[in-house]
Amino acid sequence: MKTSKFLGIASALALLSSAAYADSTVRFWYHFDNADNPMDEIVAKFEAENPGIKVEAENIPWNSYYDQLYTSIVGGNAPDAAMVKLFAQPRLIELGALQPIDDYLANWDGAANIEDGLIDLVKGGDGAQYYLPVQYVALYLYYRADMLAELDLDVPTTCEEFRDVAKALTRDTDGDGQTDVYGFGFRGAKGGHDHWGTFVLGAEGVSLTDGLTSEAGIAGTQFVADLFQKDKVFPLSAPNDGFQEIIGAFKAGRTAMTIHHIGSANGMVEALGDKVSAAPVPVCGGGSWTAFGDESTAVFANAEDPDAAFKWISFLSSEGNNTKFNEATGQLPVVKADAANWTLHPARFVEATQNSVAAAQLLPSSSATSDFVNTVWPTNMQRVLIGEISAEEMNANIDALFSE
């Protein structure tokens, strides 16, 4: 009895002392695909270095990340800081949800250690700085080196070559009349605008906000439709395929090429070893376009203690900690020293990323971009693939969205 009383009092005191010890709490939202991630370790290190600040990091499922973030902001329950992508920035600024961090950055030594140009790249449309980069990637082409070698093919560098190679790679390997390998794993569901962009937005004079309804713009979308309908180089499920499906099919050897970033490289190597390699996406319509996959952190306007929140996000983008963070996400560190010592990925994938950065583009800084990514692109692309609407109609619908 005495022991239990003593334990009770001791635990109550311990709780009280820890509560009193944490002067401020930073509620942080992030999205890691891997539930078994080192966030607790990173938080523990931060808390040890910054007594008085407690971090409550919550892993939010990616599929509903932005739905939940917007709802929490309007509901007055937004986190103090969160991982954020550039496409969401215009909406977050419009909501008045972000805290400018220009002054913090000016007084932070670590800013000089971030890769050149990255901080400016994520500047807000109104000229203020809200985002602090934490990782980056550029999308590239994954290909099965063994299959190309078997058929004596080269890695495609243009759209025309891409079509020929994809057709050659689409094969019935066991003679049962069924296609066993498809040339390219196309992502027709949400997120697949990155694939479409390579075939459409590289063309001269074509971008999401300009020239999409031109002959070159329409030809790009038609090229994608033809790859599926005429050349039959995409799996039949392509209109509904999302991230899991395209990566799963590639790892299983059902597709011979696909487009994604270095984040999936280790999983690919685990499944396929040296048979998988990567190269920049092909040049289409005279130019090259690939998506710049950004991820930053931001302090929210409602943060109880913005100083503490900035301390935490800057901690994630500082030497050593940035490596730890990117080990969990499988993307590339933004801190120069961490990038120089990067050993997490095989060199061929890091090289493919570096060679792709020059062509990497951001989506327009517009409030319409979220709708483009979430509903307008997937619905229109699927309708084109299943033959419900024409390439021209799809491009006109996207053009109308960005003209509003």
Partner: protein
Amino acid sequence: MTTATTDPSTSARRSVIGRRVLPYAMLSPAVLVTLAIVFFPMVQTAWMSLHEYVLFRPKDFNWVGLGNFKAALADEVFWISLRHTAIWMLTTIPAQLFLGLVTALLLNQDFWWRPIARALIIIPWALPSVVIALMWSWIYDSNYGVANEFLLRLGVIQQAVPWLANPDTALASIILTLTWQGFPFFAVMILAGLQSIPASYYEAASIDGASAWRQFWHITLPGIAGVMMTAVLLRMIWVANSFDVIFVMTGGGPGYATHTLPLYAFIKARTNLDFGYGSSIAVLFTIMLMVVVVFYLRRTRKAMD
């Protein structure tokens, strides 16, 4: 000297008032909770549907009257979704009812493993919708799915079919999934109804020489009519509103091939953050569903009488 004794008529009045008030007092917590979590959001939805309200512009809450409703009625996707909702309800509920009825009749027979069969049959109903949706997505998968493998081996199809990526088969595939999920509800309800029919009715009918079919038509069906009516009504409302399975399996795609009205309202409000327009679709759908329910109740009551 005054005494503390109360007038008998006063005490009687008090007890009458007490008896009248007590039920309301006992009910009020439940009523208040229902008002707060059911009626308040309903009224709020109706109010939002009359405004232009986009979540990422929370300061702009502009009155547009019936503008959202007019826009919805002129929206091609609204009509596509309505057509799919009608197909969805008109096929899923009869299929579930038929399967449930057959299952209940089988489970009402005497066989030694009946208790196990009764327990097993409830599994699809007990599983979470998301689990069912993911499970069936893999069954239908055109690369690895067991459905294609099975049909290819049987020689029914010559090429793997992308069940969920083909607009001609996507909705039907999801309807099959939902039928599988929902038929145990009918089976259990109807089984309960069957067990309430006295065995003496069947004995008397047999003595009179009634065939099994006549017994089913004149004793079994009238005996379970009330249960079936209630079960159909409940399922009608649940099936109409359910979109979780569709959302997980196809997200409404390819294109609009599996869009239903509740899903469209959800996508508009939750993904596009257009709460005004999303609410107007939800309100329109609620009115339509109420009309269907009232019509159904009137028809079935007449039939029952």
